[in-house]
Symmetry: D2
Subunit: 258 residues, 4 copies
């Protein structure tokens, strides 16, 4: 597979998979998954990492040799101030200038708080962070996050860990067509076709964690996801046929909502 | 990509794509598409081929060097007798022992006739053909076709040429779990995620024609489809996570109908 | 509610609900449900009724005073001959000239057998029965059943008792537009909106059993269903707005597949 | 139909339909629609009404005799301040203490701005208004609006005027179960089954405008909608059956996402 490259700020990436690290059975499987998925970006919760001495951290040291981008996230934060504090801590420890803003007050769903997420994004962008806000699929909010300085916007397909896929393709497609920064579908991906679909809707990448980490065979699922995003990206570029009610010439084309 | 192999009768295949040949802009693009898709099986209407001298036929001679399986189809037939006659003609001309039974009385939709399809399948199987009936997604009919001697059963995802994808995943999944011969989803595939989905539902392969031939960039779409079926096959084998209402431990798993 | 009337053969009906009788907690609730739903047609399995002396049968005697149409069904039959025998038995006992053909070889799903159903429909129509075949949503098969003399065709929305609603609205709509006899959506209705949808797709009526009989409050659900079919029927006649991508004038209308 | 009553603040309502007034062919049809729908609440854009002398206004004077609640809306506002100004104007002219907050910066979709909507809701609630914010289906934002003092929350099913129905039933159901104030599904309703569905998901009412005003027969569609909401409300209360993969006893129940 020859991947087209794409950009986050000044960084050039080729892989379309951001990989969550939270739920793997062990670090060895995680490493195999990283290889199989081809992922170049790993996200992890700052609170789970030893920020005093990141080079000694159990999660990170297994990743030492690869050229991976770290995307620390603020999960656990319940408001903008907490998220900002966590972001500064991550940067101070030398982990990364990138930060995924993840703010939730709902323990049950971990759905993001729109107001606090926007506030944190604004502040962190103004401090020079490369900010990746995790957000709902509200198209107006997504636009607002871009205007606030987000380097990419990460709408959820469905709540974290549910595997319900993309509940509202209309909104995801709308976000992808109206933003100029990359859109990364985050949360809810359950299987390969969800990832393919996300790319067909116009996403630049997907973030996957549970769907790989908790699959019966995580490494094989990681490979599946690598093909899946590639398939969706190519299909989007290839220009799919329009839906029709019937195949006959006289049949009207359909503008189906996917 | 290392593909697992699978079997149709005594033939071993590795590709999961059957390619329709009816609608390509020209034979050169068709050849590039064959290469890009990795397809090993080409289907074509017998009535479109010069069965008197197949080696001189414009469609077939471009394919001369490759080791491809030909799957002639009976499209144009409106009843079992016509289909049987076409099948015998194809075999007599040395094209193939394989035959795709395609019988329709509805010009608008080209939906298959269940009764005549079953009749033709029975007869042709008894004559030693390797029979691939194109059928609706009726699970009982699919089982009947298997019992009648079909080497594989080809339920439509949606009507030919519509690109509407898989209208009834429940039925396709039911067919895949209750048959022992391979299931090949035929008709209706519109884009890559449809192909991925078909494989996740348990299909052994997909037949694609319009979605590739009429895409803006057929060769790129052919590549997309190759990745798409691979992604779906691997995801199926990897064992996807169960859907949950929420990610929290107490949340019940969902047996969602896909 | 003033209902428009419709016809099955020479009988004029006003209600749009056919009621199954198999699963009610007791005959008294069943009677209340009949009243609340406004149903004029009751279906029941002939094998469950005392055909020797139907006037003494526990199921039927509770219904004595109302002007209800009985629609005996052949459930339990596994082939055409059995169904034909049951139909003749029902007629001989004076129950009804109407017969719902229900033939299944799959105990798990009770999905109808297309071949045997068509055979029984042909035979029984030729014997002067008013035949209501329960069938899959295969549009070609539905047309075949009409041609074989069915007085109405009853495609399933989803398998009996599942409550999964209408799995393939495309097929149901196609059947409704291509048949001239009434279409009655049978099986799979789970809640009110499924019934509304069935009528919007063009059905003349719905058959409901489990969704009412096994609801927590069957009588209230029966009332809900009465409103639901009326809502769907009126909406269909009122001519719904077309879907649009956006509301603005320039936005193209969508021919969404429902 | 005997409707159960419900409450908005101290007002008791029986109808479940809020009616938009913007798009009717003429006031006479509008009046017939009001009667047919049974609606008790009319919403209209303040900018379209003569607030200097509302009793002489062309829209309102046709409604003079009925006991209707007026729900002025702030459509046209692009930020909180404009919305607040319009609300005060409406109250000052004696129209109503109720105000529907509708703020959009996107002319194409008229999707609501989450930040400004929350700001206006907070302010207007603190000034004693009965506030009905029109919002996206973001569950966290909906909760925030309740906490800010909204008397009811009005999530959109899909963008205004599209008729696309409820794009994300999961989110609407989540909002209905997590809020204590009434939820009124606003925008996107296209036909009767959409309204039935909204009520089954737990909404207390729906707001309908285009689906009735632009139907081929608006009065008939208004009647359809009246039955539709009643059907959905009753079905919700009646306790629907659970979905199952098959009807057989051993089949697991499904927690399908609707």
């Amino acid at each position: 597979m020859k991947h087209d490259s794409w950009k986050i700020g000044e960084h050039t990436l080729t892989s379309r998979i951001f990989l969550g690290t939270g739920r793997f059975p062990n670090p060895f499987i995680q490493n195999e998954v990283i290889a199989a998925s081809g992922s170049e970006v790993l996200t992890f919760a700052v609170r789970r990492v030893n920020t005093e001495a990141p080079e000694e951290d159990a999660i990170l040291q297994h990743l030492g040799d690869r050229t991976l981008h770290y995307l620390p996230n603020t999960s656990g934060a319940t408001n903008a101030n907490e998220a900002i504090r966590i972001a500064r801590l991550a940067r101070a420890s030398g982990l990364s200038n990138w930060i995924k803003v993840e703010i939730s007050v709902q323990d049950e769903t971990l759905l993001p708080d729109p107001i606090e997420t926007l506030k944190a994004t604004e502040q962190l962008a103004s401090e020079g962070f490369t900010v990746f806000p995790y957000t709902s699929d509200d198209p107006v909010l997504a636009k607002r996050l871009e205007e606030a300085g987000a380097a990419a916007v990460m709408p959820g397909g469905s709540p974290i860990g549910t595997g319900l896929g993309i509940l509202n393709p209309y909104n995801i497609e709308r976000i992808c067509t109206s933003l100029t920064v990359p859109v990364i579908v985050d949360a809810g991906i359950g299987t390969a076709s969800d990832a393919t679909k996300a790319m067909e809707l116009g996403a630049q990448a997907v973030l996957i964690n549970t769907a790989i980490a908790k699959a019966k065979d995580p490494v094989r699922m990681a490979t599946a996801m690598r093909y899946a995003v590639e398939a969706g990206l190519l299909a989007k570029k290839a220009g799919r046929i329009q839906e029709r009610m019937y195949a006959t010439e006289s049949s009207p084309t359909l503008g189906k909502v996917h």
